[in-house]
């Protein structure tokens, strides 16, 4: 490390420490006057406040405060239920009248946001600079010297670094197992103690494991090239993974604990839209800042490679404009806000009744968005994939891909390349696609017919479960939290229904392939090692076959790291089947036993 690296890293660590500690710096004073609740709930809540005697009470930390608030709302819920027994106003449904869990969550979050009192909530701009700002500055100072190095591949010491070398099989197994069990258990709670969908998920997981392990003696195929050799574990990576997983759990399910972070985002939201931030603005801001900063790192690392530079600029642009700024500006203009490049089925709520109604009701522009989103999913996707492969989306446009290609780049070598992992991948990712399609059909059925139950399934609970399991747990907690544990494309490879859909088109009807350069391959394995999608690229390259794989996102890193110039990403339909399926780097024709010339 040179002096820039050291200073940059030190500043970044300080920023991260302040960011983390900022969660515990503020105290809270409960003030009834800050209460923003629905009128029908107000009286019960006021009564509970009085009974619990918390008006004007000071709390030194968020844990005690949130505990007291939840206790108060528990009582308010009971009071409201008592009232319901004596009669509900005629124009309301019972679920609207009662204090639902979601309502309570929203009330708690908004009260915590408005009653904070301390160094962070009183110095939001300063704290933005001390955390996000300092983090960016530190990161850039760390990155800048790379631009001045001799152009070339910079992968030295990746497997010597605690942050990047991955973890051994037992610890990886522990994380996977604990995450699956944790998500399913929390899922029961999330679905209001309805264990049906978690149980269905558990059974399907069991079936997939059985299909992979017990078919054709697969159990004997102990993976060799998995990302988990027996003797190494990078603890820094494990800690980073835990931090990221923790972040997503707080963000999705208990955002009241990260109120100071949301407050730090307030000034920027004020600047752009003129209102205070919510957690999704915080998330969008962090996401964009990270994609931009780590994008600069990616560009510096591949300063000699124009494909990588253009591709990185593209994901930085789409994240900043399409995912972050345009939706904010649209909402400022009171228009339906939408990420224009977020395509169904990745954007699983696109065909939800409230979204369709909302778009239709908001007139011309809303209708345009509806048509745009539908055409993109049904026509745009297959046509673009036919010409360029799924890379046009996955590694040039997509937000998840954008994060994976920037923040995730240091972890791309951790993807599992074993045949067994590939088998899991196919079952799981296509399973999620099927789930997304079924869920959407049920939702549309409900939208058009008004009936919420179809063949015994409740379309609302199906989509709630999808949103929880796939939308939040898989895409977020596992998708990003597992970067340092299982590589940067865990979501894209195993979970993304859009990637599965694009992949099917790419595999069966596309001009895109990675060509191999005659017999030049030396089987070194750099291509396979740095394939984030876990494709054993070398398997094809050493046989001289062109590579046509559903999962390839066309990031082009295999071609970049190849020391012998063997791989090239190309689009052309000619001979694609022959060149992809024959053993081509052969020297002798097997049929006639003559030299091929």
């Amino acid at each position: 490390m040179n002096i820039f690296n050291k200073v940059g890293l030190a500043l970044f660590v300080v920023a991260l420490a302040i960011f983390t500690l900022s969660l515990g710096l503020d105290g809270y004073t409960f003030k009834q006057s800050k209460l923003e609740v629905d009128e029908i709930h107000r009286n019960s809540i006021l009564e509970a406040i009085q009974n619990q005697d918390i008006e004007g009470k000071k709390f030194s930390n968020s844990f005690d405060y949130i505990h007291a608030l939840r206790k108060m709302f528990e009582e308010a819920t009971t009071i409201q239920e008592e009232k319901a027994k004596t009669g509900i106003p005629e124009d309301l449904q019972e679920w609207q009248f009662n204090l639902s869990k979601d309502k309570v969550n929203n009330y708690v979050l908004s009260i915590v946001k408005s009653t904070g009192d301390g160094i962070v909530s009183n110095n939001k701009v300063l704290f933005w600079w001390l955390t996000i700002g300092l983090g960016i500055i530190g990161g850039l100072i760390y990155i800048i010297p790379t631009f001045f190095k001799i152009p070339g591949i910079k992968n030295d010491h990746i497997y010597h670094r605690s942050m990047q070398k991955g973890l051994n099989l037992s610890i990886r197994g522990f994380f996977l197992g604990a995450t699956i069990i944790g998500i399913l258990l929390y899922g029961v709670f999330y679905m209001n103690k309805n264990w049906f969908w978690p149980a269905v998920t558990l059974v399907i997981s069991g079936i997939i494991i059985a299909l992979v392990l017990f078919r054709r003696n697969e159990k004997e195929h102990e993976p060799t090239k998995s990302a988990s050799p027996p003797d190494v574990t990078g603890w820094l990576g494990v800690i980073t993974g835990i931090y990221l997983i923790g972040f997503y759990i707080l963000l999705y399910w208990v955002p009241e604990y990260i109120v100071p972070w949301i407050q730090i985002a307030d000034p920027l939201k004020q600047l752009i839209v003129g209102t205070n931030a919510d957690r999704w603005f915080l998330y969008g801001m962090l996401y964009t800042v990270i994609v931009l900063t780590m994008g600069i790192r990616m560009i510096a690392k591949y300063w000699h490679n124009k494909y990588q530079i253009l591709r990185t600029i593209s994901v930085m642009f789409f994240q900043t404009c399409f995912a972050f700024l345009i939706p904010e500006i649209l909402s400022k203009l009171n228009m339906p806000s939408m990420d224009l490049k977020n395509i169904w089925p990745l954007n699983y709520s696109f065909f939800f009744d409230y979204n369709i109604s909302n778009l239709i009701q908001s007139g011309g522009f809303g209708i345009f968005l509806l048509v745009w989103g539908t055409l993109l999913a049904l026509v745009g996707v297959p046509v673009f994939v036919y010409f360029f492969g799924k890379r046009w989306y996955c590694s040039w446009v997509c937000g998840c891909g954008g994060l994976a290609e920037t923040l995730g780049d240091p972890y791309r070598q951790l993807s599992d390349k074993s045949l067994r992992a590939w088998k899991y991948e196919r079952f799981i990712v296509h399973g999620v696609l099927a789930f997304a399609v079924i869920m959407t059909i049920l939702t549309l059925y409900t939208y058009f017919s008004g009936a919420s139950r179809i063949i015994g399934l409740d379309s609302y609970s199906v989509r709630t479960w999808y949103g929880f399991l796939i939308g939040s747990a898989f895409a977020g907690v596992v998708g990003t939290g597992f970067y340092p544990l299982m590589g940067n494309r865990v979501w894209c490879r195993f979970g993304c229904p859009l990637a599965a859909y694009l992949g099917l088109v790419q595999r069966f009807k596309s001009k895109f392939r990675i060509t191999t350069n005659g017999s030049q391959c030396i089987s070194c394995g750099n291509c396979s090692t740095y394939c984030e999608m876990g494709i054993d690229v070398r398997w094809y390259a050493q046989r001289g076959q062109d590579i046509v794989r559903a999962s390839c996102v066309g990031c082009g890193i295999c071609s970049a790291v190849c020391p012998r110039g063997v791989l090239r990403l190309e689009n052309a339909s000619g001979d694609i089947d022959d060149r992809a399926e024959e053993l081509r780097a052969v020297h002798i024709s097997e049929d006639e036993v003559r030299l091929l010339s």
């Binding site: 030295d156 497997y159 394995g525 012998r564 036993v593």
Partner: protein
């Protein structure tokens, strides 16, 4: 039929794989280097932390059982060719019906004083890698003797760990005995640009003992003494056939084989680095210790072992390597000294890290060879041009067909055409640019 293959490198393993494709013979591969086949060319990447040992294995461990190829970690002590039997160092005896020897190379030592000291290693085997790893801790300087493809790899390895490196190279410019002058100068320049201490026209005289049987310095032929904690011997390799020298097997430098890769012993074949061709193809050496020929020999011997005789023919020469950050590719004839009958077109990028050279026959005008530095060209296209004796002017006008650089990379093919026009007063234009569709129709023509 029992087949035994000695050596689990690329040639032995290729032979095993193709025999399995062609037959149901019992196949056993012996090696004492590693349990499983790994890519020798990737050893440097393990040391530099780009990959782990696991990642250098081209096949997963279950592959061998599934394909009924027995791998055995054993060292062969003795071969009795008349009884068709092997003796292993464990004392165990094995018999064979057909034997394939693919024992590879060993690093050259030219009788330097101190060459057998500890802390003196080549860079060829997995054990060499382990030695480098062991002695890297606290290493103040490494001296590398010999300027070839392995020398530069070893230098890059130490350099990646910020260990100062001195390279002693006999030639006037790096690898000048193989590369043409301009390319050779480019490599020398690039080595120095990386801060490596390159000593050209310098040879090793002596390796000094620190009194404990370990090297601690070298003296060059210029009388300079260089302190170092490691000496890398990378002045080429020779066939690793020592253990067979006292047998009836015909050995010159390597095991002598005919065009069917058969030795003078019945049912015994030799392939790869350890094999020496009795009558090599015109313009080719009798021993070519490179990955690609090893692979081709492995494939060829499989057919011969399976009684489907086919002569070994390595086709048109090709090779590739990487000098630190500069990729190198060669197709066809690219001699160090260009003969009078050969025309050569050499374009170099102003940054001094990329170049394209095309050699052609001055009298008949057809292309003979391509040498690329920092630019990627297509194997199949170059091969076809050379094989079909395509005229240089035809090649130049369609030079884009050969371009294999990643998308959006700047194409320098037009520069090469302009250079030709400048040199000849012609007015050619680049008609075909880069693109797969055109290439496929060219190849299928």
């Amino acid at each position: 039929m029992k087949i035994i293959i000695i050596g689990n490198g690329i040639s032995g393993i290729t032979a095993a794989r193709f025999i399995r494709k062609l037959s149901d013979y019992e196949i056993t591969v012996l090696s004492y280097e590693t349990d499983f086949f790994f890519s020798r060319t990737a050893l440097m990447y393990i040391y530099m932390g780009h990959m782990r040992y696991e990642d250098t294995k081209p096949y997963e461990d279950w592959f061998w059982d599934k394909n009924k190829i027995n791998l055995k970690n054993a060292r062969v002590e003795h071969v009795d060719f008349t009884k068709k039997a092997l003796t292993l160092s464990s004392g165990e005896k094995m018999s064979y019906d057909k034997l394939i020897i693919g024992t590879g190379s060993a690093s050259n030592k030219f009788g330097w004083p101190g060459q057998d000291l500890e802390r003196v290693y080549g860079m060829y085997s997995y054990q060499d890698l382990e030695a480098m790893e062991k002695y890297s801790e606290g290493l103040k300087r490494a001296v590398i003797v010999g300027g070839g493809l392995i020398g530069i790899e070893m230098a890059e390895m130490f350099h990646s760990r910020h260990i100062p490196v001195t390279l002693l190279v006999r030639e006037e410019h790096y690898w000048n005995n193989v590369l043409p002058l301009e390319e050779s100068k480019m490599v020398s320049r690039h080595i120095r640009e990386h801060g490596l201490d390159l000593r050209l026209e310098t040879e090793l005289k002596e390796i000094h003992d620190n009194g404990k049987g370990e090297a601690n310095a070298v003296t060059t032929n210029k009388g300079e003494k260089i302190e170092c904690g490691f000496v890398g011997l990378t002045a080429g390799v020779h066939p690793n056939v020592q253990f067979l020298k006292k047998t009836d097997l015909e050995i010159d430098k390597g095991i002598v084989v005919n065009e069917f890769l058969e030795t003078n012993m019945q049912d015994v074949y030799a392939i790869g680095d350890c094999a020496q061709l009795k009558s090599p193809k015109e313009g080719r050496r009798s021993i070519e210790a490179i990955w690609y020929t090893g692979k081709m020999m492995g494939e060829t011997v499989a057919y011969n072992v399976c009684d489907r005789p086919v002569k070994y023919d390595p086709g048109i020469w090709f090779n590739s390597a990487k000098f630190l950050d500069i990729e190198y590719m060669v197709y066809g004839e690219v001699p160090t000294k260009i003969p009078d009958t050969m025309g050569t077109l050499y374009w170099e990028h102003p940054d001094g890290r990329k170049s394209i050279r095309i050699n052609y026959d001055k009298n008949h005008g057809h292309v003979l060879g391509f040498n690329l530095m920092g630019v990627r060209y297509r194997h199949e296209v170059c091969e076809k041009w050379i094989k079909e004796k395509t005229n240089i002017e035809n090649v130049l006008q369609h030079l884009g067909l050969a371009n294999f650089d990643p998308e959006f990379y700047k194409q320098y093919d037009r520069k090469v055409v302009e250079l030709y026009n400048e040199q000849t007063g012609k007015n050619l234009e680049l008609k075909t640019k880069r693109g797969l569709a055109k290439v496929l129709s060219f190849l299928n023509r």
